[in-house]
Every structure is written in structure tokens, then in C-alpha cells.
């Protein structure tokens, strides 16, 4: 049985039931003995106190009363004849057969007459059973009531656990601890241990992020030296350094930069969102990418908006998101191509699209491109981290990212949905 509640209820119900049954049975037998004794006392009372006149009128050995109790009287001289009862010889209780039935009798044997009080065993048994049962009845009635009360107490005691179970999934990914207020003392160590675990997990995550960030930073210095040496060597002559060596260093530099971006975008911690100008962020990113776009002869632009668009975002994440999306578009669009940046506001949300005239993505790969280190074209100097960074940055801001191929020709459309911000 996995449920504590079921275990408790089963155990308590079993004990209550068994106790009720045992107490009831014991009470029944004890009460039966008591009632038996009481009936015997009555029988003796009758035998000893039979009215002499009544007794004199009775036929010898015959039943004088047809009540629950009957009595038979014999005088000293009477002969018993075909009397129903055999005349007893000694004073005391006995069980005898008379007229085909079983009787309980008390005989009072005196010199002048003998009297017996008798009761049919059948009547007597019924009487004893009914009275004993009546005595046990309250006990039997108490058991179901006790079960109901126990059930209520158990479910009430379990309520803090239910509440805890309901609260846990509501805790955010980055939340540090489960609140301990109102947690029962038996469960408290568990919650404290879980909080401890959560804390360690958070530290691990921070450590991982910091490690990636530190490692990438450390890589930058030798890379810078390598780059300078290559540049100095190729200043001597075009063929002094193989183009592949230059491309490898360039790729490594890009990879290090993107590892840092990814570490930043995946860093644990709460993100504070504020209304930011999307246009301003786009201008800043486009300014950074302008040299690359110009070198490839790519027409990078958008529609001039009549008014500024504001979104709920965090400055560093917004910049990271836009830079990776636009950089990707510029990178995969062949020379002479076109990249459009389009923002559209609708009910409560702002959709921002980056549309390129690159090769697009095979339908089967559309889902996988958000994974890390997935590269579609090994010849392009991409790192395979751009979209992973964009997605991590978008998630931190509660924005969603969708990717699709263009319908009007080759090319890719990446769409970001931000919560719109009313400018205050």
C-alpha cells in the first residue's frame, strides 16, 4: 500500500473493527451470564414465595401459571401421577425434560410440600439472547461512528501534505526554496532536506555557468595571441598562412564568444522585465552587424514604423536574442541577399520577424535547429549555438520563438512573440 492515508485508514479501521467485535462478543457473553443468574434468582423467588392458597388450588404436579414462569406444587401426601414434572427430591436448580420440552427449574423441597419454579429453556434462551444483545447494541453502534471520526481526523492530518504536494509543481524552475511555514514537524526535515538539495542544485548550475564563462574567458587570451601571430605572419605575404588556419581561428573565436553568450543566457536567476524600445534594440544590434552585412552586400533593413514599439524585456537578454537571430540571418543569406526585420503589434503581444533569403531549413530539421551544436551546413562559419542562445534568452523573458520556411521562395522566418509593454 503506497498511500499513507490508505495505510493509516486501513490500520485504524481494522483495529477499531476488531476491538468493537471483541468487546461486543465479550460483553454479550458476560451479560448473558448476568441475565442467566438474574433469571435463576427470579425462579427461586417464585418457588419460595408461591402463594399457599394458590398452591393449594393447584393440582398436584400441574402447571399453575402459564406465564413466563410456571410453578408446580406437590403436597406431602399427593401422589404425583401423570404430572408433567417429575417430583424433585432435593432443593436446587436443575434442567429437566417435561412434556417433551426442556425446562429450567428451581425446586424447593419441604416436608409439607414441594414447589418448583420452572421456565421453558426455549423462552429463557430467547430472553437471554435478546437482553444480552440489547446490552451490546450501543457498543456496536459506536463502531461506525468512531470509524467516521477517525477517517475525518486522518484526512485532516494529511491536509498539510496535500497542500505541499500542490505547491511544489507551482515553484518556478529558478526558485530557491519550498516555503516551510505551516509544514508539520514530521515533514519539516523532508522539506528542509529538499531545500538543501535545491540549493545544491542551484549552486551546481551556477558553478556550471561560471565554469563555462571562465573557461571561455581564459581561452580568449591564447586565441588573441594566436590571431595576432597569424595576422603578423600573413602581413608578410598572402600565402604565409593557410586560409584554413585563419578560418579555424575565426571559428574558434566565434565559438568562444557564443559559449559566453549561452552561459549568460542560461545563467540561473530571476529576470527583471521592463518596457524597452524594440526599435532601439534593433538599431543597436544592426549597428553591430552592419560591417558583416555590408561586406556580404546584404540589404539589411525593415519597414519604417510610424511609432516606436515597446516590449517587456530585459536589456542584455533582448540584445542577445536579437543579435543571434539577425546574425544567423545575415550569416546564412548568400551575398547580395536580403534580410527584413518586421515588427507587428497585435492584441497584447508584439511579433518580431527576421526574414532572410537564405536556403531555409529542411522541414525535418526545423525542430532540431534549437538544439546546441546542430549545424546544417558544415561549410558555413556558424557555431551551432546561435538559435540555442536565442531560445534561452527568449525563455528568460517569457518570449516565444517559432521558426518556419518562407512560402514565397527560399528563406527562413524566425518569429519572436513578446509581451507588449504599455509605455508608462
Amino acid at each position: 500500500m503506497r498511500s499513507l492515508r490508505a495505510r493509516l485508514l486501513f490500520g485504524l479501521f481494522a483495529i477499531l473493527g476488531a476491538t468493537g467485535l471483541a468487546v461486543g462478543t465479550a460483553a454479550f457473553f458476560i451479560d448473558r451470564g448476568v441475565i442467566d443468574g438474574a433469571l435463576d434468582d427470579e425462579l427461586r423467588e417464585i418457588a419460595q414465595n408461591v402463594d399457599p392458597i394458590e398452591a393449594a388450588r393447584a393440582e398436584s404436579g400441574r402447571v399453575v401459571a402459564e406465564d413466563i414462569f410456571v410453578a408446580a406444587v406437590w403436597t406431602a401426601t399427593e401422589h404425583q401421577g401423570e404430572a408433567d414434572f417429575v417430583r424433585p427430591a432435593v432443593t436446587g436448580f436443575d434442567t429437566v425434560m417435561a412434556g417433551g420440552e426442556e425446562w429450567r427449574i428451581y425446586a424447593e423441597v419441604r416436608p409439607e410440600r414441594t414447589v418448583i419454579g420452572a421456565q421453558r429453556m426455549e423462552v429463557r434462551r430467547e430472553l437471554v439472547a435478546v437482553r444480552a444483545f440489547e446490552a451490546v447494541l450501543p457498543i456496536l453502534a459506536a463502531v461506525p461512528i468512531a470509524l467516521l471520526v477517525v477517517g475525518w481526523i486522518v484526512s485532516r492530518a494529511m491536509r498539510p501534505l496535500d497542500r505541499l504536494a500542490a505547491e511544489l509543481p507551482a515553484l518556478g524552475d529558478r526558485s530557491a526554496a519550498i516555503p516551510t511555514a505551516g509544514v508539520p514537524s514530521e515533514v519539516l526535515p523532508l522539506v528542509v532536506a529538499m531545500n538543501d538539495l535545491l540549493g545544491r542544485l542551484k549552486r551546481q548550475l551556477e558553478f556550471r555557468t561560471r565554469f563555462v564563462s571562465d573557461a571561455a574567458h581564459e581561452l580568449r587570451t591564447p586565441l588573441a595571441a594566436l590571431q595576432l601571430q597569424l595576422d603578423a605572419a600573413s602581413a608578410g605575404g598572402r600565402d604565409a598562412v593557410p586560409a584554413d588556419a585563419r578560418a579555424s581561428v575565426a571559428r574558434m573565436s566565434a565559438l568562444v564568444a557564443q559559449m559566453l553568450d549561452l552561459a549568460r543566457a542560461e545563467a540561473p536567476g530571476e529576470t527583471r522585465l521592463a518596457p524597452l524600445s524594440l526599435d532601439e534594440a534593433v538599431r543597436s544590434v544592426v549597428g553591430e552587424l552592419l560591417p558583416i552585412a555590408e561586406a556580404k552586400g546584404i540589404d539589411l533593413g525593415g519597414d519604417e514604423a510610424p511609432a516606436e514599439t515597446f516590449v517587456l524585456a530585459e536589456p542584455a537578454d533582448l540584445h542577445l536574442l536579437l543579435r543571434n537571430l539577425i546574425d544567423n540571418a545575415v550569416r546564412y543569406t548568400p551575398p547580395g541577399g536580403r534580410v527584413d526585420l518586421v515588427a507587428a503589434a497585435d492584441s497584447g503581444a508584439v511579433a518580431f520577424e527576421v526574414r532572410d533569403t537564405g536556403p531555409g531549413i529542411p522541414a525535418a530539421m526545423l525542430e532540431r535547429v534549437f538544439d546546441r551544436f546542430v549545424r546544417l551546413d558544415p561549410d558555413t562559419a556558424g557555431t551551432g549555438l546561435g538559435l540555442a542562445i536565442a531560445r534561452a534568452a527568449a525563455e528568460r523573458m517569457g518570449a516565444t520563438l517559432a521558426i518556419r520556411n518562407r512560402e514565397d521562395g527560399p528563406g527562413l522566418v524566425v518569429r519572436v512573440r513578446f509581451a507588449a509593454a504599455v509605455r508608462t
Binding site: 574567458h217 587570451t221 538599431r283 549597428g287 561586406a295 516606436e308
Partner: protein, 221 residues
């Protein structure tokens, strides 16, 4: 031209030394903030290349002390750290530019030239952006050997762009800049002014990004 390299990584320092010497500069190199302060105290340099992660003090701290002592030698910060806070701190402390490792030698040389031009401009009050020089006192503008005195609104527009080379300004931002100079703004004023400026010099003097804005590139390519 004398350059001081403040860099604790010997590989980078050696490579920089060799490359800059080949480019015709006189190079001194030190590996600690203390040595850098000592060198700057006894020798005039045209520019200081400053690594932020020094063993004895941070480059930012060195920069702070230099500026506090009235030393305004042009500086170019070279660092592996590119977080925004660090960048802002370095620029606020009077660093003239900021270069993140790894970088190309060509870019470094271009940035050094830009820093030098700007520091010379600072001395004479001129604004330098890429290949453009503006003199706010005379409204004189030079670009690729052509010099002209511009009307107030054309100069205002170009000045706004040249103040922050590499930054894209929107139509609204340019309109505000022209308005600040005390002129009425018509709806197509920006387009008209840019047309005039381009006609005067060259199409490339101001770059346009369709629907996004206009900019003057930071460094010539």
C-alpha cells in the same frame, strides 16, 4: 609614435610588441600596474594599450589613478571580459576605446589610429568619426580630402551622427538633433538634408539602413 603595452600575458605582449614595431611604432611593454604607472610617470606615450586583468591591480583602477593625477594619455582597453558593466566602467573612466579579445591586428591598428585622431581632435575641439572630421566652431567638415563649410542643419545632422560613430540613429532621433539646433522640422527634412550631404561629399559618407536609420561607420574598412 610611442606606445605602452600593459599586458601580463607574455604571449600577447610579445605578439603585440612585434606587430606594432613592424607597423612603425616605438613599443614599451610592462606586465604590472605598478610598472605601468612608473613608465607613464617618466615617459610621454601617444597611446596606452591596457589589459584589464593585471596581477597587482585591475586596469580600471590604474586608469582611475592616472586620470586622477591629470594624466590624459589616450588609452585603448584590451580585455577578455566583455560584460556591459566593465565596458561602461572603463569608458566612464576615460578609456578612449574598448577591444575584446581575440581581435584582428588590422582592427587594433585602425582603433589606435582612431583613438589618436580623436585625442588630437579633443585638443583642437574637432569631432572625428571614421573618415570624417567636423569642427563645431567653424562648421567645417572634411571627408576623403574634400573640405566644405556646411549650413547649420546639415552640420547638425552630421554632427549628431559623428558624435557616436557606428551607432544607428532613427529618423526621430535625427529630427530631434536638428530641432535642438533651433530649426523647424518638415516631414521629409532628414531625407533632404542627407541628400545634400551625400551630394556634397559621397554616397558613402552616411550609410542608410532601410527603415531602421542612418549611421557613420566607426572605422573605415
Amino acid at each position: 609614435m610611442r606606445v605602452l603595452i600593459v599586458e601580463d600575458d607574455p604571449m600577447i605582449a610579445r605578439s603585440l610588441d612585434r606587430a606594432l614595431t613592424e607597423a612603425g611604432m616605438a613599443v614599451d611593454r610592462v606586465a604590472t600596474a605598478a610598472d605601468a604607472a612608473a613608465a607613464l610617470a617618466i615617459q610621454e606615450y601617444s597611446v596606452v594599450l591596457l589589459d584589464l586583468g593585471l596581477p597587482d591591480a585591475s586596469g580600471v583602477e590604474l586608469l582611475r589613478r592616472l586620470r586622477a593625477n591629470g594624466n590624459d594619455t589616450p588609452s585603448l582597453v584590451i580585455t577578455a571580459r566583455d560584460d556591459v558593466a566593465m565596458r561602461v566602467a572603463a569608458l566612464d573612466l576615460g578609456s578612449d576605446d574598448y577591444l575584446v579579445k581575440p581581435f584582428h591586428l588590422d582592427e587594433l591598428l585602425a582603433r589606435i589610429r582612431a583613438v589618436l585622431r580623436r585625442s588630437q581632435g579633443r585638443a583642437t575641439g574637432t569631432v572625428v568619426a571614421g573618415e570624417i572630421q567636423l569642427d563645431p566652431a567653424t562648421h567645417e567638415v572634411s571627408y576623403r580630402g574634400t573640405t566644405a563649410v556646411l549650413p547649420a542643419r546639415e552640420f547638425a545632422l552630421l554632427h549628431a551622427l559623428a558624435e557616436r560613430p557606428g551607432t544607428i540613429l532613427s529618423r526621430h532621433q535625427l529630427e530631434t538633433a536638428i530641432y535642438d539646433w533651433g530649426n523647424e522640422v518638415e516631414s521629409n527634412a532628414v531625407d533632404v538634408l542627407i541628400h545634400y550631404v551625400r551630394k556634397r561629399f559621397d554616397k558613402d559618407v552616411i550609410r542608410n539602413l532601410r527603415g531602421i536609420g542612418w549611421t557613420i561607420p566607426k572605422a573605415p574598412r
